[in-house]
């Protein structure tokens, strides 16, 4: 099982995403933004960071990178793709997911342990969760406010394409508390919080049991492995 992790110039959480892939039991394959093929990976993670320095618009330049051409084609063909934070922004800029992400309502970068409600378990990356499950995933972004026009929002809600909603606190002013989306097929998922930062005891978010013991993020990666194994 090989899961590709893309590195754009300015990507920051690529090594973390690779670690998450390994901890979940798959092989992590590093993909460079200039690559023109996907090296036979079974799934792709677009990790967080500030690709191309967030210049122009977050994710806008990365969406035009050579590797994205292959990823968009493969995603349309059903390849599981997970976009985390800046990766979510890239997915939106690539039109694999609808809407947009804007500056946080309060204008500050925010780093916090964020509670989420799993709204859809019918995806490659969330099938290991229970519907309605509350999970804690670190969130860290400056431009995480999700927006979409009314028509799109109605469609997202109507078709059940919301993958995660913020619980207790809406940290960035996202409409309808939207934290993450899925596409219709369920192979593409994007979210602002960082599951790769909640995969290893001792380095994740605090839980009621112990400091930094949260590993809810691991389920994203075991979900995709299980789906690929059972496919």
């Amino acid at each position: 099982m090989k899961i590709g992790v893309v590195t754009f110039p300015g990507t920051l959480d690529d090594r973390d995403a690779q670690r998450a892939v390994r901890l979940a039991g798959a092989e992590a394959v590093s993909l460079w933004h200039a690559d023109t093929n996907l090296h036979n990976v079974d799934a792709v993670v677009l990790p967080g960071g500030f690709s191309f320095g967030d210049y122009l618009r977050c994710g806008a330049i990365a969406a035009q990178a050579p590797v994205m051409e292959s990823i968009i084609d493969a995603a349309n063909g059903g390849l599981p793709v997970l976009g985390i934070c800046n990766g979510f922004q890239v997915l939106v800029e690539s039109h694999l997911l609808p809407g947009g992400l804007i500056r946080n309502e309060h204008q500050h970068f925010i780093c916090r342990d964020q509670k989420l409600i799993v709204e859809n378990v019918d995806t490659a990356w969330t099938n290991g969760f229970k519907l309605g499950q509350e999970i804690t995933i670190p969130l860290k972004n400056g431009e995480g406010g999700y927006i979409a026009d009314t028509e799109t929002l109605n469609r997202l809600e109507g078709e059940g394409l919301i993958a995660f909603r913020y619980s207790e606190v809406n940290p960035n002013g996202s409409v309808n508390n939207i934290a993450g989306l899925k596409n219709k097929k369920g192979n593409v998922v994007g979210l602002m919080p960082h599951p790769e930062h909640a995969v290893e005891p001792g380095f994740g978010p605090d839980t009621a049991v112990a400091m930094r013991s949260g590993v809810d993020g691991l389920t994203f990666f075991t979900s995709v492995i299980n789906q690929l194994v059972n496919a």
Partner: protein, 761 residues
């Protein structure tokens, strides 16, 4: 603007030409000294180089004679793990298992007052590049911030700018921000302190030193293009020499591009890994002047440089400006000719621009040409290392005896007589700007990136894992108390060292090395120079006593407004090693039913304390006594207890005393507790005010599971550490201090965490 340049030939032919040495900050004897070194007057380019490299900032001319003692007051035992000591870009410490770490803290005070956002941002950028030059991957950053009074309207401008600048730059670099300090005091009103620390990790064999040794190696500038950023004094020179229309107005503060720096980090690490560079030097203060002269001087070689090869953002720059530019995100590599192809393949992959400026030569001489014209011809050592050294006059401050006499006791400062008043004071203290939660600031920093953060604010130390295989890691804490240092700079520096040391020990790590950032007023003021002399002696003596070496540091003078200097603020950073970060000890209570023990003795030490500041707006007397032998014993006990898994939490007592510590420990994870102080009062013969608010050193509160009680107390007694059971954790969601008050944790949390957002949010 004319394009004629002042060549070495011109310099010989017009020896009497008037030069603006004074405007560039040189003294007459320094200017004469340059003439003597060169056997002629300097060219305008040489004058620019000497002026900036001989500045206080670059040459340490006023501090050098005192900094030497950090290298002298050592034992062989102290330096046995030191792979690189002071004098390099950053010290390197062997932490075992083939790993080493390098860490350093640097000031960016003055730029951060003028332009807080860019000043703070480029402060982070600069220290990270220093770490990178040692061959290390930067793994974390921390910031030590000191702002003016919260009531002053200008403070918000600086706070917002500095915090956003650090957030913008640090987050975008992908380095976890794992701790730091934020202090408000009116003495920093016109001169905030913005210190930035970075730590990096490397395998022993990857250690690099920035030097140009081998003749024929290429000198390559890569990274961002050179622009007019950060050109300070040289605009004087440019205007005097070249431009009759008046000085060109350049921004004096550099502008940072963290994206460019992130790319540069990955590029440099790949260059090191491919072994295609002999060394890499960062371009920070003094830009190319510094990089060329230091590389050549460090390698006891010379260099020939063609300045026209520098890639420019602004084609109108004069050669002097190019030499002085402090444009960010640039590096200089020394590359063997046969490695050029491999070098260019890597920089091309990262889309980083580069240009070959020249080559290393055997003759220890730095030649810089502007086209066909020679504009610099100097011994590099005279520029980089043999600058002037001053033993400036020192004078015991005229006001100090009076200040020391003006103690809490002599002033008869009123103490609470009723429980309700004590309770009110406690809340007043934990909600005061300096003692309140700083999460409004630290929540703007990414502490997760890298996936190796084992502890971060608000815990006592920041801790990061270095080896994913074994869990080997490092803990870092920094401290400085300007109020203590104002009362006694010798003792104050030792107190800062003791506190940082205790913080690291509380987290379960073994303190191993020290760095510092010495922020002081003008060295031309003999009283400031006395403070500096005392503080450096205190720090060096303290390190010798604790047996941990100073690996490097930074001096920032001229921190004052008019004639009024800041409080002496020697920021001391202690790095500790932990064999497995899984063993780290948090500062807060996690489990109910644990006993809470106070280790150490409480004395009536309220001079310089938070209590005296918040309740009485008073500063006077003598700071707390430091017993470094006791601190060492305490650290060894904490380490032993952590190894045996006996302590569930440990939190050091410092500013705000026991009161502050118990509030922080309960709020960390929302665990309630009940305390009784009567045994402290009896054993230590102090009153309730001292028991709650005294800042006596050598004290820690630990929580211990009941099953480990006997073992833990036995351990303390065997080691002669005073130990007293003073409380027990519970699920009441309340904090009760018998004979004082009972608070709901939610109310305390509100008091502790709303102050900073209300002021700045």
């Amino acid at each position: 603007m004319t394009t004629s340049v002042d060549t070495t030939k011109d310099a010989k032919q017009s020896p009497e030409k008037a030069q603006p040495w004074k405007e560039l900050g040189l003294k007459l004897e320094e200017y004469e000294n340059i003439k003597e070194i060169l056997g002629r007057r300097p060219t305008s380019a040489e004058l620019a180089m000497y002026s900036v490299m001989w500045s206080e900032h670059c040459s340490y001319k006023s501090s050098k004679i005192y900094l030497r003692q950090f290298g002298e007051k050592v034992t062989p035992e102290m330096t046995k793990n030191l792979m690189v000591g002071m004098g390099e870009n950053a010290g390197v410490v062997d932490i075992g298992e083939g790993w080493a770490v390098t860490f350093k803290v640097e000031s960016h005070n003055h730029p951060s007052y003028i332009e807080p956002f860019q000043g703070a941002a480029t402060g982070v950028g600069g220290i990270v590049r220093d770490i990178l030059t040692m061959g290390a991957r930067p793994i974390a950053v921390m910031d030590q911030l000191r702002f003016g009074a919260v009531a002053n309207p200008d403070t918000a401008r600086v706070v917002h700018g500095v915090v956003s600048g650090i957030s913008f730059y640090g987050n975008c670099l992908g380095l976890p921000n794992i701790g730091g300090e934020t202090v408000f005091d009116k003495v920093y009103q016109g001169n905030p302190l913005v210190n930035a620390l970075s730590v990096g990790a490397l395998r022993h064999e990857d250690l690099k030193l920035a030097k140009a040794t081998n003749p024929g190696d290429l000198v390559i500038l890569f990274g961002a293009r050179t622009g007019a950023d950060g050109i300070g004094g040289v605009s004087v020179l440019a205007s005097e020499t070249f431009d009759a229309d008046g000085p060109s107005r350049r921004p004096a503060v550099q502008v940072g591009d963290p994206f460019a720096e992130k790319v540069l980090i990955e590029c440099c690490l790949e260059l090191y890994a491919a072994q295609v560079v002999a060394g890499i030097q960062d371009l920070g203060g003094a830009g190319l002047s510094c990089a060329t002269s230091e590389l050549a001087s460090n390698g006891q070689a010379g260099m020939r440089v063609q300045l026209k090869n520098v890639l420019l953002r602004d084609e109108s720059l004069t050669p002097e400006e190019i030499l002085m530019s402090e444009s960010q995100e640039r590096m200089m590599a020394i590359v063997p000719k046969e490695s050029l192809k491999a070098f260019t393949a890597i920089v091309d992959k990262h889309e980083v621009e580069y240009s070959v400026l020249g080559e290393v030569i055997k003759e220890p001489r730095l030649y810089i040409n502007w086209g066909d014209e020679e504009i610099v011809n100097v011994p590099p050592r005279s520029v980089a290392h043999d600058g002037p050294v001053y033993e400036r006059p020192v004078l015991y401050p005229t006001w100090l005896d009076q200040l020391n006499r003006d103690s809490v006791i002599n002033n008869n400062l009123r103490r609470a007589t009723e429980a309700s008043e004590l309770a009110e004071q406690l809340v007043q203290i934990v909600s005061s700007p300096n003692q309140a939660s700083k999460s409004w600031i630290t929540d703007q920093y990414d502490h997760y990136v890298g996936g190796n953060t084992a502890l971060a604010m608000p815990d006592d130390s920041g801790m990061v894992r270095v080896s994913e295989e074994t869990g080997l890691g490092v803990a870092i804490a920094t401290d400085a108390n300007g109020r203590y240092c104002q009362l006694d700079p010798y003792q104050g520096a030792k107190l800062a060292l003791a506190e940082a040391y205790r913080n690291v020990a509380s987290s379960g790590a073994v303190p191993a090395a020290v760095t510092n950032c010495l922020n002081f007023g003008s060295p031309e003021n003999p009283e400031v120079m006395w403070q500096f002399k005392q503080a450096t002696a205190g720090l060096a003596d303290g390190c010798l006593e604790l047996g941990i070496p100073v690996t490097g540091g930074n001096v920032s003078f001229y921190n004052q407004t008019g004639d009024v200097a800041i409080h002496p603020t020697p920021v001391v950073g202690v790095l500790g090693v932990i064999d497995d970060v899984a063993r780290r000890v948090p500062s807060g209570w996690q489990d109910q039913g644990n006993n809470i023990y106070l280790l150490g003795i409480t004395r009536d030490e309220l001079d310089g304390s938070v209590w005296s500041e918040v309740i009485h707006d008073h500063l006077g007397g003598k700071p707390p006594v430091v017993d470094l032998k006791g601190e060492k014993a305490l650290a060894e006990l904490l380490h032993g207890a952590s190894l045996q898994g006996l302590v569930a939490s440990a939190h050091d007592l410092s500013e705000g005393g026991l009161a502050q510590a118990v509030v922080e420990s309960s709020l960390r994870f929302g665990m309630g507790a009940r305390f009784w102080l009567n045994e402290i009062l009896e054993r230590d013969n102090v009153d309730l005010t001292a028991a709650l608010f005294s800042e006596s050193t050598g004290r820690v509160i630990v929580s211990v599971g009941r099953e480990d009680d006997v073992k833990f107390v036995g351990l303390c007694e065997a080691r002669g550490i005073p130990v007293l059971r003073i409380g027990v954790t519970d699920a009441s969601e309340k904090l009760e201090i018998q004979d004082v008050a009972t608070w709901n944790l939610s109310d305390l949390k509100q008091a502790h965490s709303s102050t900073i957002p209300e002021l700045f949010g």
